[in-house]
Amino acid sequence: MALLDSRHGDTAEGLAGLRYDGSMLLKRLFRYRAGRLFAFVLAASLGPWAHATPPVARQPVSQAAPAARPVTNAASAAQQASDAEDSGNLSASARRIYDVGRPRLLQVRTLLRDQDSQASVGSGSLVGPDGLILTNYHVVSQVALEPQRYRLSFQTVDGVTGALQLIAFDVVHDLALVRMASPPATIANRGVFEFRPAATPLAQGERIFSLGNPLDVGFAVVEGTYNGLVERSFLPQILFSGSLNPGMSGGPVLDDKGHIVGVNVATRRDGQQISFLVPAEFAQALIASGAHAKPITTSVETTMAAQLMQHQQQLTQRFIALPWRETKHAHYSVPVPQEDFMRCWGSSSPSDSKGLSFERSDCQMDTAIFINESLRTGDMSVRHEVYDGSKLGALRYAQEAGESFRNEGMGRRTHDLTAPKCREDFVDSGGLTMRTVMCLRAYRHLPGLYDVAVLSQSVDAKTEGVQGRFDARGVSFQNALLLARHYLQGFAWKR
């Protein structure tokens, strides 16, 4: 899932925005076993293309794009969604929505503190008096985390610009409130966006309209359909069937009355028109609690840590409350999570394999919380491999199992996290003896949060065994231990 702010490197904007997406795509797809090869192919083709295109040659294309691209996308989306109405009606509707939204729509820019070069761009919407603007946390994350290096500014569709101040954020749902530092006198004339009342929920298939400034090429309206909430997602997100692009992050998504139903946040690059919105209720909650807050001038890390702490508490409680799934293996009970908010992928060794045969299951959460470019947190993953080494014999099996046990990465010290520190021993669970390693890393800037990894390898059979790994990111130390115990107790030897 690529987040939708357009971030630039050191060359022409837009271009770099695409290159940035390439890496996002790779990161994202890496987590899906089935998509690996695909990710490589795509990354290989996208990378050189972004480099090879001369900035000068792209410039006119970019300028032409806002008019051409969204309309095509909207039209094709609409054709799939509906066959009763003619295209004239559709574009008239999109046009009406855009006319309504136009004065209240803005681009939110992150600029370097001492010059006017933009580091990233997103979108935003006027939602309150005195220039109160709703956008994504990830659009303003650089300013939130490094106010000494970055500042915020806005530009309206009709070209009014000015400075912005961060006043509140909800890092878990990726939302932020910013306010114009000195709102223009005519600001009240622009009005503010209303939210769609919770009493009248959208029905699947209803047409909704996303506004924003894709790739910094110009303000655009994108038509698409509401498809309910994303399934098996711990954090509720709306599945929007429409084309969102980098730069649209934080922009409002409106129903046909022009009321906000969600906020643009992310898109999947391995699909077509699979985009995600933050439901409006979280934005309303943030506005209710933060609209009158003073601009944030101190470090945001304490607030952020508190929000993440609350999230991990809920996640841990829900996770531990779920029983493990029944596994079909003849000898081993293995902790495989319910798919309430995780998605599992299975794979196995080829049937003609001469070495170690294995069956593998990879479960992980779709939603990770964006903190900064190099840190996502607040999610979990569980995986296991069941090994059959009967073709190898005891010695070679032990060697292979050891190889697989050894090469697990536990991470190194980074800007965000300490190096891992581990505890290891033989652990017995349900009659199964395992070599178990638990490694924890502390967040260097978010006090009280840890990443935990538990790696366990059964050691009581000569030519068969099971290896499992559990990872939780951004949990308290106590919850890390609780989760580790819960996980280890999911293993058992079936008699």
Binding site: L395, T414, H415, A419, K421, E424, D425, R435, P447, L488
Partner: protein, 330 residues
């Protein structure tokens, strides 16, 4: 006539290459053919120096020359006639001469060491080492392959390590050619095999023992032993090249291990990595090897509680913050 003394011209390795029997003093030395000892060193004058007998000692009198006469490192001043030092070594130009007198006490006869016979005596040891190494390497390769791997593939992977070892020993043998004038391949092979086998043995046994007793420290000790075995191997290679510098080589390698190891420890501790070895014990062995009882999941998790203290210390901002230094490596 009675031989009063011998004057030996020494080559680079300190062996006489020209010997003059002296039956009467003085002895004139130079390039001119009317000298008693004629040298063909271009750095020597036609008449370079004269050796003469006075007061029961040999004295040297330099003639008028460009390069002069040196006794050890001291240059003999013009017009002075000093006695030769106890070593009776003197250097004229680029040529070193040694004077032996009839009455000099001789060093006792030394036992002759026939290097070839010496090697033959170690031949059995060497053969045993080679067999051991070949067996271990074969086993190691076998462990890493799956059943049904074609034998030619096996052969290729199998031959890689011996080939590298050959090259290593050939390089050392060429070194011994330089210093010892012999191509000492087998002695170097013996040194390499001995220490590599010892080191590997220590590492493997330590790994298994660490697993058996659930004590990762033993594995770390095994890795240290391996490093020391490699250091000792290099020391012995060097000793074979120049035996008389044994001590100096020992000190050099010892300090290299201490300094290199120290730097590595500092780097690892800054990076918050374990000082020696891996983050956790990577050995998985046969079920029967495990000697200790497993603990319950609950007890295991509880035993991890002290990690919190270390981690919160590591997470503290300040002292070693790597802002902007590219510390992000993921």
């Amino acid at each position: 006539m009675e031989t009063l003394a011998l004057i030996e011209t020494l080559d680079r390795d300190g062996r006489p290459c020209q010997v003059l029997r002296v039956s009467q003093w003085p002895v004139r030395i130079g390039r001119a053919i009317d000298c008693d000892l004629v040298l063909d060193d271009p750095h020597v004058a036609a008449h370079h120096a004269t050796l003469f007998w006075r007061a029961d000692a040999v004295h040297v009198e330099p003639a008028s020359t460009v390069n002069g006469v040196r006794l050890g490192k001291a240059v003999v001043a013009p017009f002075s006639t000093p006695p030769l030092p106890p070593s009776r070594l003197l250097t004229l130009g680029a040529t070193t001469l040694r004077v032996r007198l009839a009455g000099d006490a001789l060093a006792p006869e030394q036992r002759f060491v026939d290097l070839h016979r010496h090697e033959r005596r170690h031949g059995v040891t060497l053969a045993v080492l080679i067999v051991l190494a070949a067996l271990w390497h074969g086993f190691d390769q076998w462990l890493a392959t799956v059943p049904g791997t074609p034998s030619y593939t096996l052969a290729w992977t199998y031959l890689g390590v011996p080939a590298a070892l050959m090259l290593w020993c050939v390089a050392w043998a060429i070194g011994s050619m330089l210093f010892q004038h012999r191509f000492a391949f087998w002695p170097h092979l013996r040194v390499a095999l001995t220490w590599l086998l010892l080191g590997t043995f220590a590492k493997v046994v330590a790994g298994q023992l660490a697993f058996a007793l659930s004590m990762p420290l033993i594995d770390k000790a095994g890795r240290i032993v391996f490093i020391f075995a490699v250091a000792l191997m290099i020391w012995h290679h060097l000793e074979l090249l120049v035996p008389r510098l044994r001590r100096s080589f020992g000190i050099a390698i010892g300090s290299a291990v201490v300094v290199g190891g120290g730097l590595l420890l500092v780097a690892r501790s800054v990076q918050q990595e374990p000082l020696v070895g891996d983050l956790y014990l990577g050995t998985i062995s046969l079920p029967g090897v495990r000697l200790v009882k497993p603990v319950s999941a609950d007890a295991f998790v509880k035993s991890a509680a002290p990690l919190e203290k270390t981690l919160s210390r590591w997470a503290k901002p300040g002292d070693d913050d790597d802002e902007g230094s590219g510390g992000d490596d993921d």
